[in-house]
């Protein structure tokens, strides 16, 4: 066999899993698309985020917490191995509110979730004045915020680069510019690419982001995923202006303020639009008025990889045992879990996490 595991898709999800499998001594071949393919991994917001996740499914909240808890350790290990720092800051993050009603309603939901998580859901509610002490540039329209202590943010591009470097260092074969067109299992797995490349593998992981929607059904998965566009803005590099990240804005380690993101159902269209950029700018200025004078230097649109309920999908194919679908929306947050915990599940060891709620069984047959 060419390889123990063939991993289709070299985004942050595929590479995190590849990294974990390599650490267990498995041989891994990653097949990845070309320079222009849709890549959420290089268009995201970089939050390592816990709050608001899994409001309806505490297991997802827990899974996010588990990943966030080991993220620093994971980042350090990557950094040591590659000699490249993966910037991460985990000193909490905000959900900013412009109205007392929404703030109160969200707090109620958090309290309910906290109870289901045995009280392990550390957050504080800050009124405007308390928030202003933490964030001197906060604007008068912000009535308050929920400060969740398990939240943080990372440099997602440095993460991607470190993973790309480290999987190679550990001996992965990474084939770029490949588009997998078919996966069959005459005996072992056979993977066919558009350029005629074929590969044999004992097991296959489908982590091709949006590409899984096409390949999934050929491998016996439902793979009900869809794109959702998020437009993101980044300003010129500025001195320290924002201490902690929020869903509206964060200051990245290089100094720019990143602002995001829209939620648009526009299919496979990743363009930015003036109304999108303007709306985001207005919201960011409402939160931090000083930003009005900052120059926007870059913007982009990226497509989220979304399942119907927004939760990850971890599923072994019943039609093709040994083939796994691994996909999620929050691939940055879950990178550590995918690298450290998911391999146990793939390998079926005793330590395997219980991921039953993330199987495709939750999607009704349509």
């Amino acid at each position: 066999m060419d390889t123990d595991y063939a991993i289709i898709g070299g985004g942050v999800v595929g590479l995190s899993v590849a990294w974990g499998l390599l650490r267990r001594g498995r041989t891994v071949t990653v097949l990845d698309g070309d320079d222009g393919s849709f890549r959420a991994s290089r268009g995201n917001f970089g939050l390592v985020w816990v709050q608001s996740k899994g409001m309806k499914q505490p297991r997802y909240a827990r899974w996010s917490q588990q990943s966030a808890a080991i993220w620093a350790d994971f980042a350090n290990e990557l950094g040591d191995a590659t000699g490249q720092n993966v910037p991460l800051e985990q000193k909490g993050g905000y959900d900013l509110h412009f109205s007392e009603e929404t703030l109160r309603a969200t707090v109620e939901q958090y309290e309910a979730l906290k109870a289901k998580l045995d009280g392990d859901y550390p957050f504080d509610v800050l009124g405007h004045n308390a928030l202003r002490k933490e964030e001197p540039h906060i604007g008068p329209k912000v009535v308050g915020a929920i400060l969740h202590h398990q939240d943080g943010h990372a440099n997602p591009l440095k993460l991607l680069q470190a993973l790309a470097a480290d999987v190679r260092r550990m001996g992965a074969r990474v084939l770029v510019g490949k588009t997998v067109t078919d996966v069959s299992k005459p005996d072992a797995f056979r993977i066919d690419c558009a350029d005629g490349t074929t590969l044999g593998a004992d097991r296959v992981i489908l982590s091709a982001g949006l590409g899984a929607a096409q390949l999934g059904p050929k491998m016996g998965f439902k793979a009900p995923i869809r794109p959702q566009r998020g437009q993101v803005l980044i300003t010129e590099k500025l001195p320290k202006l924002i201490n902690r990240p929020s869903l509206i804005a964060r200051q990245v380690d290089e100094g720019g303020i990143q602002i995001g993101a829209t939620n648009e159902e526009v299919g496979l269209d990743d363009r930015v639009t003036q109304p999108g950029l303007s709306g985001l700018a207005a919201e960011a200025i409402a939160a931090y008025p000083a930003l009005a004078k900052a120059q926007l230097v870059r913007s982009w649109g990226a497509l989220r990889v979304l399942s119907p309920d927004g939760l990850p999908i971890y599923q072994q194919s019943t039609e093709m045992p040994g083939a796994f679908l691994v996909t999620c929306h929050s691939g940055i947050t879950l990178a550590a879990a995918h690298a450290r915990f998911l391999p146990d599940w793939l390998e079926g060891t005793v330590d395997a996490p219980d991921l039953e709620v993330f199987s495709e069984a939750r999607f009704a047959v349509s």
């Binding site: 010129e236 001195p239 320290k240 100094g255 120059q295």
Partner: protein
């Protein structure tokens, strides 16, 4: 007195006073700000936010962004601005100094 400049001005024009980092400086009214600063002996316009390296105008046509200066709190290309009386210009000083 004007500091020695690597540049020579061919024509004399009426001058107005601007503030450069708080210091008054007389520049030709209506002139291109980047050109006027160069002629006034200003060689370094800013330090980069990446490494703190000094930079001055490179393209003079609004494409390279090396002539960035701060004018009334907004960072702008000096080569795309005309000199007017009372302009307050600040040279960005690398990381952590702009006044947003």
């Amino acid at each position: 007195m004007k500091p020695a400049s690597p540049f020579l001005e061919l024509h004399d024009c009426p001058r107005v006073t601007v503030l450069l980092d708080g210091q008054p400086l007389d520049l030709p009214e209506g002139a291109n700000l980047a050109a006027a600063l160069l002629a006034a002996g200003v060689e370094v316009f800013r330090k980069t936010p990446v490494s703190g390296a000094p930079r001055g105008p490179f393209c003079m046509m609004g494409a390279c962004f090396d002539c960035l200066v701060e004018i009334d709190g907004v960072v702008r290309q000096a080569c795309m601005v005309e000199v007017t009386a009372g302009l307050e210009v600040r040279k960005p000083d690398g990381v952590g100094d702009a006044t947003v």
